[in-house]
C-alpha cells in the first residue's frame, strides 16, 4: 500500500455505480442487494501505480462488518455512520407507492456517502482492511477475522453499558462539552427533520388543491365567452403547477437523508466520549486498588493488625517470620505490577485523549463542511422550486393578459 499522507479520497474517485438483486443460495425467496463499488484512480494524481479501475460487490452486511471492525479497532475515531435500516421522519407521500427500488437507491446514495467519509479520514483510509474492502475482491474479511478485535469489543459492550448507569460524567471539559453538544445537536436536527416532514405534507396538499382549481377553470371555460380561452389556458398551467411539486419534495427527502446521516454522527461522538470515560474510570479503579494494596502492605509490615478473619487466623496460629516476609515480598511485587499497570493505563488514557481530541476537531471541520454543503443544496433546491412556481404563475398571468383592464 502506498505510504504517503494523501487519503484514499484524494487518490480515487469512489462511487457505488450500480446495485443488483441477488438470490441467496439457501432459500430462493431470500434475496439481497449487492452494491457495486467502483474505484477509479484520479487522473490528477500522477504517481498512481495502480492505474486500473477496480470494481467489487459488497452487501449491506459487509459494510456493517467493516464498520464494526473499525469501531472496535479505532475506539477514539469518530467512524462514519451507515444508513439506518428503516426510514423515519418522512412525509406521507414519500413512502407511498415507493418501490423497494427507490429504498435501495436511497441507501445506495448514503452508502456512497459513507465510503466518501471513510476514505477522507486519514486514519481509517490507511487501514488495510478498508483498502482491501474497496480495491480487492477478497481478503478483507480475513484481515477483519484475524485481527480478533470484533469479539473483544462485543464482550466489552454489555458490562460497559451497565457501568454508565451509575457513572457520573467525565470531568474533562472538552469531552463533556462534546458529549452535551452531540445530545443537543441530535435533538435539534431531529426537530428540524420532523418540522420539514410536516411542512412537506402541507406543501403537497397545497399544490394538490391547485389541481382542483385547474379543473374548475377548465370546466368553467366552456361556459364563458371571452373569458373562456384565458380560463382554459390558466387551468392547464394550474394543473402543471400542481404536478411539479412531488418530484422536488422527493429530492428534498434525499437532502434530509443527508441531514439525518449527520445527526447519527452524534451517537458516534457520544460513544467515543463514553469510551474515554470508561478508560478514565478503569484507570481510577486501578489506582484505588493500588492504593488499598499499598495500605494493606504497609499495615502488614508495621504489624498493625486489623480485624479480618485472616489476621485473626494469623494471630491464633502464631506468626512465622519467614512466611511474613515472603508475604510482604509477594505483596510488593503485586504492587509493582499494579504500578506498571497503572502507568500503562495512564499512557493509554493520555494517548486516547490526544487522538480523540484530534478526532473531535476533525469531525468539527467535516461537520461544518457537510452542513454547509447540505444546506447550500437545500437553498438551491428551494430556489429551483420557486423558479418552477414562478414559471407556472407567469404563464397563468399571461393567460389573463390579453384583455387587461386599464389601471
Amino acid at each position: 500500500m502506498t505510504e504517503d499522507n494523501s487519503t484514499l479520497f484524494d487518490r480515487y474517485d469512489i462511487q457505488i455505480s450500480n446495485t443488483e438483486r441477488r438470490n441467496s443460495s439457501i432459500a430462493i425467496q431470500d434475496c439481497y442487494i449487492v452494491y457495486l463499488i467502483e474505484c477509479r484512480p484520479k487522473a490528477s494524481v500522477s504517481n498512481n501505480k495502480d492505474s486500473e479501475s477496480t470494481c467489487v460487490f459488497r452487501r449491506y452486511s459487509d459494510f456493517e462488518t467493516l464498520r464494526n471492525y473499525l469501531v472496535a479497532k479505532y475506539s477514539w475515531v469518530i467512524v462514519p455512520v451507515l444508513p439506518e435500516k428503516t426510514i423515519s421522519h418522512t412525509w406521507s407521500k414519500s413512502h407511498q407507492d415507493r418501490t423497494s427500488v427507490e429504498v435501495v437507491e436511497r441507501r445506495r446514495v448514503l452508502l456512497e456517502r459513507f465510503l466518501h467519509h471513510l476514505c477522507a479520514h486519514p486514519t481509517l483510509s490507511a487501514d488495510t482492511a478498508v483498502q482491501t474492502f474497496l480495491l480487492q475482491n477478497d481478503g478483507w474479511k480475513q484481515i477483519v477475522d484475524t485481527s480478533h478485535v470484533l469479539n473483544k469489543s462485543e464482550s466489552l459492550i454489555p458490562s460497559f453499558k451497565l457501568n454508565l448507569m451509575q457513572h457520573e460524567r467525565t470531568k474533562d471539559k472538552r469531552f463533556s462539552d462534546a458529549y452535551q453538544y452531540a445530545i443537543d445537536l441530535n435533538t435539534v436536527l431531529y426537530n428540524v427533520l420532523r418540522a420539514r416532514a410536516k411542512l412537506a405534507d402541507r406543501i403537497f396538499i397545497f399544490y394538490q388543491a391547485h389541481n382542483q382549481l385547474g379543473r374548475l377553470f377548465s370546466e368553467w371555460s366552456t361556459t364563458e365567452d371571452k373569458l373562456g380561452d384565458s380560463l382554459q389556458r390558466a387551468g392547464h398551467f394550474l394543473d402543471s403547477f400542481s404536478g411539479q411539486i412531488e418530484e422536488y419534495l422527493h429530492e428534498e427527502d434525499a437532502l434530509m437523508d443527508f441531514l439525518k446521516h449527520q445527526a447519527s454522527y452524534c451517537d458516534v461522538i457520544k460513544s467515543v466520549v463514553e469510551k474515554h470515560e470508561q478508560l478514565v474510570d478503569d484507570n481510577s479503579k486501578q489506582e484505588t486498588s493500588l492504593g488499598t494494596k499499598r495500605t494493606q502492605r504497609d499495615a502488614y509490615a508495621n504489624g498493625k493488625m486489623n480485624f479480618s478473619v485472616n489476621s485473626l487466623k494469623l494471630k491464633l496460629f502464631g506468626e512465622n517470620e519467614e512466611t511474613r516476609y515472603a508475604k510482604i515480598e509477594g505483596m510488593d511485587s503485586d504492587i509493582n505490577d499494579a504500578v506498571l499497570h497503572c502507568q500503562n493505563a495512564d499512557i493509554r488514557v493520555k494517548e486516547f485523549n490526544k487522538n480523540a481530541i484530534i478526532e473531535l476537531d476533525f469531525y468539527k471541520t467535516m461537520k461544518e463542511e457537510q452542513m454547509r454543503e447540505i444546506l447550500r443544496s437545500y437553498c438551491l433546491l428551494q430556489a429551483r422550486i420557486a423558479k418552477a412556481a414562478l414559471k407556472s404563475w407567469t404563464n397563468i398571468r399571461d393567460s389573463f393578459s390579453t384583455e387587461q383592464a386599464p389601471l
Binding site: 418540522a195 388543491a209 391547485h210 382549481l213 368553467w220 365567452d225 437553498c379 404563475w393 398571468r397 384583455e403
Partner: protein, 409 residues
C-alpha cells in the same frame, strides 16, 4: 335629456328632489355638463346595436375616477359612526377637469343604493359591502381597522361601478351624493323618505316596491328564450364563482397551515443556531439559512394577507353581484307575467323598456365582469410572481453566501 318613456318611468317615483341639487355650486354645475355628454350616448343606447354603442364609448374620452379614503370616527351621545372621504376626479383626455370631495357614512351609501334599486329596477346596481355582522367580525376580520379598510374598498367599487354605468351615473341622486354638502344631502334624504312612503302607498305601479319581485316567479309562463338563456348563464357563472370561492378559501387554509409549519421550521433553525452559539461552533451556515427562512415566512404572511383581501373578498363580492343580476332578471320575469295577465298597453311598453334596459345592462355587466375577473386573476398571479421572485432571490443569495469559503463569524 332622456327619451320620454324612460323619463316617464323615472318620474313615477322621482320627486323634484333634483331641484335642490342644482343650486349647489359651480363644481356641481360642471358635473352636470360632463354628465350631459354621457347622456348623449344614453339616447343611442336605449335601443342599441352592440357595435354602435361600443364606438360611442370609445369616442367618449371623459372618465371619472372615484376614491373612497380617509375614514374618520365620529362619536356623539346617541351614535358612533365612521365617515369616509369620497373623492371624485373627472378627467377629459387624461386632463383633470374637476374634483369634488365629500364625507359620507355607510348609511348614506345604503340610502343611495336603496334609492337606485327603486328607481332603476331593471338596471344592475353594484352590491354594497356586507353589513357589520357579528359573524363577519368573528371570522373574517379580527380588528376594526382592517374591517374599515375592507369596507372602503367595497364602497369605492360600488361608486365606481355606478359611475361607469351611463344611465345611473347621470342620476341626480348620484350627483347629489358625490358633491352635495351634508345639509343638502340630508334634506334630499328626508324628502326621499317621504316620497317613498307616498309612492308605496299609491298602488299604481308595483315597480316602486321591490318586495313583490323577490317572490318566486310563476311557473309555466312563457319567458323569452333569450332571457332564460341569460338566466342559465348567470346561474352557471354564480355556481362557478361559488366553487371558486370555496376552493380559494380551502387553498388559503392550506397556505395558513404551510405558514404555521414554516414558522415551526424557522424555530427549529433558531434552536440549532442557539446550540452552535452555545458551544462556540461556527454558526454562519445555520445563521444564513435561518435568516432566509425568516424572510420567506414574512413574505408568505404578506402574500396571505393579499390573497384574503385582494382575491377572495372580490370573488365573494362577485357572487353577491350575480345575485343582483338574478334579482333584476326576476323582476323582469315578474313584470312580464303581469303584462300577460293584465294585457294592458301601458305595461307592455314598460316591459319593452325593461327588456332593453336589462339586455344592455347585462351586456355591459358581462363585459365588466370579464374585465374585472381577468384583472383580478392577473393581479393575483402578479402577486404570486412577486412572491416567488423574492423567494428565488432570498434562496439564491443564501446559497451564494454558503458557498463562500471561510465564512467565519
Amino acid at each position: 335629456m332622456d327619451d320620454p318613456l324612460s323619463r316617464a318611468l323615472r318620474e313615477e317615483n322621482n320627486p323634484p328632489s333634483s331641484l335642490s341639487s342644482i343650486d349647489t355650486n359651480d363644481l356641481h354645475f360642471n358635473e352636470k355638463i360632463s354628465s350631459l355628454s354621457i347622456s348623449h350616448s344614453h339616447n343611442d343606447w336605449i335601443l342599441p346595436s352592440t357595435n354602435e354603442r361600443k364606438e360611442e364609448v370609445e369616442i367618449n374620452r371623459e372618465y371619472i375616477r372615484i376614491c373612497v379614503c380617509d375614514p374618520k370616527k365620529h362619536k356623539s351621545n346617541l351614535d358612533s359612526y365612521v365617515t369616509y372621504l369620497v373623492n371624485t376626479q373627472t378627467y377629459n383626455d387624461s386632463v383633470k377637469i374637476n374634483e369634488t370631495n365629500v364625507r359620507r357614512r355607510y348609511n348614506d351609501f345604503i340610502w343611495l343604493k336603496n334609492l337606485l334599486d327603486m328607481k332603476y329596477p331593471f338596471n344592475i346596481i353594484s352590491p354594497l359591502p356586507a353589513k357589520h355582522t357579528l359573524s363577519n367580525k368573528l371570522h373574517v376580520v379580527a380588528d376594526d381597522g382592517e374591517f374599515i379598510r375592507r369596507r372602503m374598498i367595497g364602497l369605492q367599487n360600488f361608486l365606481q361601478r355606478i359611475i361607469d354605468n351611463p344611465v345611473i351615473s347621470i342620476d341626480s341622486s348620484v350627483q347629489l351624493f358625490l358633491s352635495a354638502d351634508d345639509d343638502t344631502l340630508h334634506t334630499a334624504q328626508q324628502q326621499q323618505t317621504q316620497a317613498t312612503t307616498i309612492s308605496s302607498v299609491s298602488p299604481h305601479i308595483s315597480s316602486t316596491n321591490s318586495n313583490p319581485f323577490r317572490q318566486p316567479m310563476g311557473r309555466g309562463k312563457p319567458i323569452p328564450s333569450e332571457f332564460s338563456r341569460t338566466e342559465n348563464q348567470i346561474q352557471t357563472l354564480q355556481d362557478n364563482l361559488r366553487k371558486l370561492e370555496r376552493l380559494t378559501r380551502k387553498i388559503e387554509t392550506d397556505q395558513v397551515s404551510i405558514q404555521t409549519e414554516e414558522e415551526h421550521l424557522l424555530s427549529t433553525f433558531k434552536q440549532w443556531l442557539d446550540i452552535e452559539r452555545k458551544y462556540d461552533e461556527n454558526d454562519s451556515f445555520i445563521d444564513i439559512v435561518s435568516s432566509t427562512q425568516e424572510k420567506i415566512v414574512e413574505n408568505q404572511m404578506d402574500l396571505l394577507k393579499y390573497t384574503n383581501t385582494k382575491f377572495i373578498e372580490p370573488i365573494n363580492e362577485y357572487v353577491l353581484f350575480t345575485n343582483v343580476v338574478q334579482d333584476v332578471l326576476k323582476r323582469r320575469a315578474q313584470l312580464s307575467e303581469n303584462v300577460t295577465t293584465n294585457n294592458s298597453e301601458e305595461m307592455f311598453d314598460q316591459l319593452t323598456i325593461a327588456n332593453e334596459t336589462i339586455k344592455a345592462d347585462i351586456h355591459r355587466w358581462t363585459e365588466l365582469k370579464d374585465k374585472e375577473l381577468t384583472h383580478l386573476f392577473h393581479l393575483m398571479a402578479n402577486k404570486k410572481i412577486d412572491f416567488y421572485n423574492q423567494s428565488i432571490d432570498a434562496w439564491e443569495q443564501a446559497a451564494a453566501r454558503l458557498s463562500l469559503p471561510n465564512n467565519q463569524k
